[in-house]
């Protein structure tokens, strides 16, 4: 295999971040291989989303080293950014544009063709809602638009912050099917989860943040209802 495959998708060493004087992350060390799906667990306020935002280059770490497909998020953030696709908790859409216009905008920014935007909409089941304004959509449908934008991006690392929230059963199936397609293509996924159940069958392993660090038994899936996991890490 080529050298690119050997480079971890995410390689974090002692990553720390504080807000004001309060340390949220105190030294997270995590390695995610290409094609691997890792669930990131932890109680509210333990820094899961902050860690995801650091990987996405949206927040700078105050200590430690984090590389995304070999690119340091501090010294080469643009290269790291090009590799990631980030599904945030908020959809990040423009309410006064239609669904299709939101996707066309993303396509223009990502150098994709308009047909790619239409195909992404069909892929997430929103072909018929294309001309509706985002303002008129339910939160679940807005989530699907955000997922379509992620499909359009074709990332090497997907970062999903509670991807199942507001989604119905078919939406959950859609996310899991996409994760399956991505991992088959060698795309790594790091998923912030509050509940493991929807992600059953797609996770390779889980890690848990406790007090700003990964718990010692970080890959112990049994604590979280284990047998549902496809492969343990």
């Amino acid at each position: 295999m080529s050298g690119i495959v050997d480079v971890p998708a995410i390689d974090a060493t002692d990553v720390a971040r504080r807000y004001g004087s309060s340390w949220v992350l105190r030294g997270v060390t995590l390695r995610v291989a290409p094609g691997e799906v890792v669930g990131l667990l932890g109680a509210n306020g333990t820094g899961k989303s902050t860690f995801l935002r650091i990987v996405a280059t949206l927040v700078r770490p105050h200590a430690g080293v984090l590389r995304v497909v070999g690119h340091d998020v501090r010294t080469a953030p643009a290269r790291a950014r090009d590799a990631v696709g980030y599904l945030a908790h908020m959809p990040g859409l423009y309410d006064d544009l239609t669904v299709r216009e939101n996707l066309l905008f993303a396509a223009a920014m990502l150098d994709r063709r308009p047909q790619d935007a239409d195909a992404a909409l069909v892929r997430v089941g929103l072909g018929r809602a294309a001309e509706q304004r985002v303002r008129a959509l339910s939160s679940g449908m807005q989530r699907r638009v955000a997922i379509a934008r992620l499909v359009l991006r074709r990332p090497r690392v997907v970062l999903l912050d509670e991807p199942y929230s507001n989604l119905d059963a078919s939406g959950i199936d859609l996310v899991n099917a996409l994760i399956g397609e991505w991992t088959e293509a060698g795309v790594a996924a790091l998923i912030v989860l509050h509940e493991l159940a929807p992600a059953a069958g797609v996770l390779d392993r889980t890690v848990t943040i406790v007090d700003g660090r990964l718990a010692p038994n970080a890959t112990d899936h049994q604590r979280h209802g284990g047998a549902m996991l496809r492969v343990t890490g």
């Binding site: 908020m90 990040g92 006064d96 216009e101 905008f105 223009a108 990502l110 150098d111």
Partner: protein
């Protein structure tokens, strides 16, 4: 990343901002209402003295554009912040300068349209004679608008992540705009007065020089300003 890619992204951002604004008209209506209110209030305050009205017209018009612009600049980033769209915007590949260029074009269209309406209204309300050198006047308005919008777009980005951005933006922006406004007001005043002192050209050159400096510096600074 070629300049064609950056230009395509900048146009996409301007298109997105203007399409959303065309649908909602949220900014344009409030910006125009504020600008017209300022013109009318100053008109009443100065009274029926025609010469006093004409003398004050350039300052009042640019003041109206300034206050209206601040509303527009704040709003242009507020829509990005509200739904988490700014995060997605900065995650797109390519230089962040394309984001600045796109925001700049969108704001210029909005504030430029407002300025054009304000000037037309000012001519009527303040009984100003349109000068023979009206193309020069249009150039001054364009130069002044470029300076105003460039700094406004940059400082609005700087203030956008603050919870007190509505207060912070004028505090940051107004001192920086003083040279642009002085040059724009003086050039406008000279032209409306028939350019008897032949100083409109000097003020226009000064204004153009400010524009060049501020546009170049803003494009360079934006990468840092928008970075986390």
């Amino acid at each position: 990343m070629s300049w064609r890619d950056e230009w395509r992204r900048a146009r996409a951002i301007a298109w997105k901002d203007l399409t959303a604004e065309r649908r909602s008209k949220a900014v344009f209506n409030s910006v125009l209402a504020l600008a017209v209110t300022i013109l009318v209030l100053f008109g009443f305050a100065l009274g029926p003295d025609t010469q006093a009205l004409r003398d004050a017209a350039p300052g009042v018009v640019w003041l109206a554009a300034l206050f209206a612009g601040v509303l527009a600049f704040n709003r242009s980033y507020q829509t990005e912040i509200e739904g988490g769209a700014l995060d997605q915007l900065v995650l797109y590949p390519g230089s962040r300068r394309a984001i600045f260029a796109g925001k700049l074009m969108g704001n210029f269209a909005l504030v430029g349209t407002t300025l054009a309406i304000v000037v037309a209204l000012g001519v009527v309300l303040f009984q100003v004679d349109v000068p023979a050198q009206w193309p020069a006047l249009v150039s001054i308005l364009v130069f002044g608008c470029v300076g105003l919008v460039t700094l406004g777009t940059l400082y609005a980005a700087m203030a956008s992540r603050s919870r007190v951005r509505e207060v912070l933006l004028p505090l940051l922006l107004f001192p920086m705009l003083v040279p642009v406004l002085i040059a724009a007001i003086q050039a406008t005043k000279s032209l409306l007065g028939g350019d008897l002192m032949h100083d409109a050209g000097a003020w226009a050159r000064l204004l153009a020089a400010f524009d060049v400096i501020f546009v170049a510096a803003s494009f360079l600074a934006f990468e840092i300003v928008i970075e986390v």
